[in-house]
């Protein structure tokens, strides 16, 4: 194992790594452990492949999307902070108007560390969740996209570890090590957040995950990009650009599955799920059930609907709202209230609560808005095929495990149910074992350039404008 590293070359960065010897030493110790983790928990059986990947080598527009064939363990995981823009003052909370912090204020150290660790933990978790999917890829194009998502999640882990090492001393280094020892789905040492311990067993799940769960990432990162702790704000701002690619994989992946299903339905002249399945496509009701599952699991990630932690984070200037500066209010929120949906006496009702305590709910609602728009674009694919089916997002209270709504059983259209009504219908609303087994049965591996599995349509446009039959992955 190499003990000295030429950082400028091996780790593209704009944080002056070669001059910061303490940081370099810390990362030198961490990097071998990271590579061990990648070999053990990264994409399965892929280390010899040449993959057509995008690598960021600088934060300039031209530097950040360098395309070329890379063997994944040799991927250059860089550390980038978005360029500073505008006046460097805190935009919200009690410190509004004060200069941003270049270092961690002592009184916020524990909370900031917790924020960074929670965000950082999701990055390796999703790589672990997706590690077997390469064996069942529907095309080389999709395989490449999976690996791109994986290496960028790896880079996001690096970004968070950089912050831990650079700003949090020994605690930070210990947390950075722990990020490599927790395991998604492990009963004894699981990842921090629930959705990141769920399995991603098939490609439809992957596309739903990257559409919904990576979109949670977008909103969390966007809220952190407002942080008064400038290194965190600039780091997360740069990560957002990559997160967009992950959502693209999800949105276009689901859209292509829907498109193929619609083609099959039109060829058959039937919407009978059994016939559609027999023809090798995923019937639209099953796609709806997958959507229901991933949507509901993801909105739990925003946390309890009333949270004093969220209020603390905001008031302290650690974590803002999505698009904080585009909001027309005082950015302190003491006098504001916000309607929160809650269960009371077995019913659902909006209650006005102090907005500061409802900031998780505010972010969740922003996420819901954004998600619904994309589902509308999926429906346009169905509409274009001349079919009447429409996908919907389920009610906010459907299948919740966190917050006050977790006490209730609620149908996708928002009716409060008895336990027996829920049990009688749950297989209509969430993927059953049978659904998952059927989807799994479609997951044959297709790796011939230009060919796609029968359940998914080819993309409208290649990566970096490459043609449909481009050899995105070369097997060693």
């Amino acid at each position: 194992m190499q003990t000295t590293t030429n950082y400028a070359d091996r780790i593209p960065n704009n944080v002056n790594l070669s001059q910061d010897r303490a940081l370099a030493r810390a990362l030198e110790r961490w990097q071998p452990a990271f590579l061990d983790w990648w070999r053990e928990m990264g994409p399965e059986a892929a280390s010899g492949f040449d993959v057509y990947l995008r690598t960021a080598v600088s934060v300039e527009p031209q530097g950040w999307a360098q395309f070329g064939y890379v063997k994944m363990p040799d991927y250059r995981w860089g550390i980038f902070l978005a360029p500073v823009a505008g006046a460097a003052t805190i935009n919200f909370g009690e410190h509004k108007g004060e200069p941003v912090w270049q270092d961690v204020p002592g009184e916020h150290r524990a909370n900031l560390r917790r924020i960074v660790v929670t965000q950082g933990d999701t990055e390796p978790a999703s790589v672990e969740q997706q590690r077997h999917l390469g064996l069942t890829c529907p095309s080389l194009y999709d395989l490449r996209n999976l690996y791109q998502v994986n290496v960028e999640e790896g880079r996001h882990l690096w970004a968070m570890v950089y912050l831990l090492h650079r700003y949090f001393g020994r605690d930070g280094r210990e947390e950075a090590e722990a990020l490599l020892t927790r395991r998604s789905g492990d009963a004894d040492n699981p990842r921090i957040l629930g959705a990141f311990n769920e399995r991603t067993p098939d490609w439809l799940s992957l596309f739903m995950f990257t559409y919904f769960t990576d979109r949670d990432g977008k909103f969390q990162l966007a809220a952190l990009a407002e942080s008064g702790f400038e290194p965190l704000a600039r780091t997360t701002k740069f990560m957002l650009t990559e997160e967009a690619h992950h959502m693209f994989v999800g949105e276009s992946g689901v859209a292509r599955a829907i498109q193929r299903t619609c083609e099959v339905m039109n060829e058959l002249g039937s919407d009978d799920p059994a016939k559609v399945r027999a023809a090798g496509a995923v019937d639209l009701p099953t796609i709806q059930r997958y959507l229901n599952f991933h949507y509901s699991v993801t909105i739990d990630l925003f946390g309890a609907d009333q949270s004093s932690n969220a209020a603390t984070f905001y008031t302290a200037g650690l974590k803002g709202r999505f698009d904080e500066m585009k909001r027309d209010d005082d950015h302190r929120l003491h006098d504001r209230s916000y309607p929160v949906l809650a269960a009371a006496d077995g019913r659902l009702a909006d209650h006005d609560v102090p907005m500061l305590n409802a900031l998780n709910e505010v972010l969740r609602d922003d996420f819901i808005c954004d998600s619904v728009a994309g589902v509308g674009r999926w429906n346009r694919v169905v509409e274009k095929a001349g079919l009447p089916f429409r996908l919907t997002v389920p009610h906010k209270a459907f299948h919740r495990k966190i917050g006050s709504l977790a006490q209730l059983r609620v149908s996708p259209d928002g009716r409060v149910l008895s336990e027996s009504e829920w049990d009688a219908n749950v297989d209509n609303w969430l993927p059953s074992d049978g659904d998952r087994a059927f989807v799994a049965s479609l997951m044959g591996r297709v790796v011939e350039p230009g060919r796609f599995a029968g359940w998914i349509a080819p993309p409208a446009i290649g990566i970096n404008r490459q043609p449909a039959n481009f050899e995105y992955v070369r097997f060693g």
Binding site: Q62, T241, H245, F248, I461, R465, F470
Partner: protein, 408 residues
């Protein structure tokens, strides 16, 4: 702003709403705030976008990289774009007024293609060309951004590589198309000068990829066909241009002499002198797409008097053999027998015959008038020796868009 005043058409930057995932990356990247959005779409403001392309690499989907030719007076507004579910069809300038092509351009084209003995069609997979967007009465204004000599300093021929940039004016060209240059001033009888046609030497995405520019290969004309001393009006005008000078350009012209775009298609290119311009354009197009591994062969026969007079000799020599099979023919090398492209064609008879019989191979000839007969005779000989009949083959080649001859 001469360019703005002269041009009716512009390239408008658009985002494909069917591919876009509304991730906001373009809006946050744009340094001048030209990208905006509503609840439905992300759109580019035509009045602000300066085509700096900063938004192109970060876009995760490719939706950002769309450019349509529009009439400047009718560019799509923000409100129109907000309403889209998909990109509109390109406006009708695409195959504009073939009928309105100036008589002199039509005459020049007919004379140049006389040698192919019949009218050809474009390859089936050729991209759709734009034609005649700019007439002599309202030319596009380009600016010179490069002008350097291709031939050695001691060579008798002065052949130049000239780069013209169209700025914000749309001037879409395909490899094999020509553009017309209108020299300023008037001729001896007080009339405006005729349009002179030059085949573009750069591929469709620009001399520099992603730039709105074209390259020309221009030989300074010092004598006429009979060898009498004559200073060519347009060629001397072009060769003497300095960086930043404005040039009036008309066209583009040509809807047939185009390259195939389908994977696996091969090109056989035969040229002399400045006839190399379309071959350079096509070769460069293929070179830029090599990573796509689309297959197909490139076979080039290139004639000149001596090596020093062969335009693009240096860059050609740098291309790898597995990409392009190059065959030079020099007719004036001291103590060496005179060799012409037709001699090389005969030497490579097996390869030539194989490609002539291959429906995916397209043949392009460009250069001085005198080469036509020699090349056709060589084809005939190559065929005869291998059980093929050139004279029976030629009409089929024309009908399939596989044979293209332009000589002058």
């Amino acid at each position: 702003m001469t360019a703005a005043a002269s041009a009716d058409y512009a390239l408008q930057h658009l985002i494909d709403p069917e591919v876009c995932i509304r991730c906001n990356t373009c809006e946050s990247t744009c340094p001048i705030g030209a990208v905006t959005h509503d609840a439905r779409n992300y759109v580019v403001d035509f009045t602000k976008c300066n085509a700096c392309n900063a938004c192109i690499p970060p876009c995760p989907t490719g939706a950002i990289d769309h450019w349509q030719t529009v009439r400047k007076s009718a560019a799509y507004t923000l409100d129109e774009q907000f309403g889209w579910d998909s990109l509109p069809a390109p406006i009708e300038v695409q195959v504009a007024d073939a009928a309105g092509i100036p008589e002199e351009v039509r005459r020049l084209t007919e004379a140049a293609t006389a040698g192919q003995a019949g009218s050809a069609v474009a390859p089936w997979s050729a991209a759709t060309p734009c034609i005649n967007l700019y007439a002599p009465s309202r030319p596009a204004i380009a600016r010179v951004t490069g002008n350097y000599r291709l031939t050695a300093d001691d060579a008798s021929a002065d052949i130049r590589h000239i780069v013209l940039d169209f700025g914000s004016t749309a001037f879409p060209v395909l490899e094999g198309q020509s553009i017309g240059i209108v020299p300023p001033g008037r001729d001896g009888s007080g009339k405006p000068h005729y349009v002179r046609l030059y085949s573009v030497a750069s591929p469709r995405d620009g001399e520099r990829p992603g730039y709105n520019n074209v390259a020309l290969t221009v030989k300074r004309v010092r004598s006429d066909h009979e060898g009498r001393a004559v200073a060519g009006v347009a060629s001397n005008y072009l060769c003497d241009l300095g960086i930043g000078d404005e040039v009036r350009v008309v066209g583009p012209y040509g809807s047939v002499y185009l390259m195939p775009d389908h994977p696996g298609s091969s090109l056989m290119m035969i040229c002399t002198g400045t006839g190399s311009a379309p071959m350079r354009a096509m070769t460069e197009r293929r070179r830029r797409r090599r990573a796509a591994s689309e297959g197909g062969e490139l076979l080039l026969f290139f004639g000149a008097r001596v090596e020093r007079e062969l335009p693009y000799f240096g860059p050609l020599m740098k291309l790898p053999g597995e990409f392009i099979d190059i065959n030079f023919a020099f007719s004036r090398v001291r103590d060496r027998p005179k060799t012409y492209v037709q001699d090389r064609i005969r030497e490579r008879g097996d390869t030539v015959a194989r490609l002539l019989a291959d429906d995916d191979c397209y043949i392009y000839v460009c250069g001085v008038k005198g080469m036509e007969t020699g090349v056709i005779d060589a084809f005939r000989d190559v065929c005869r020796g291998r059980g093929l009949d050139w004279d029976a083959m030629q009409p089929a080649l024309l009908a399939k868009g596989r044979l293209h001859i332009e000589t002058y």
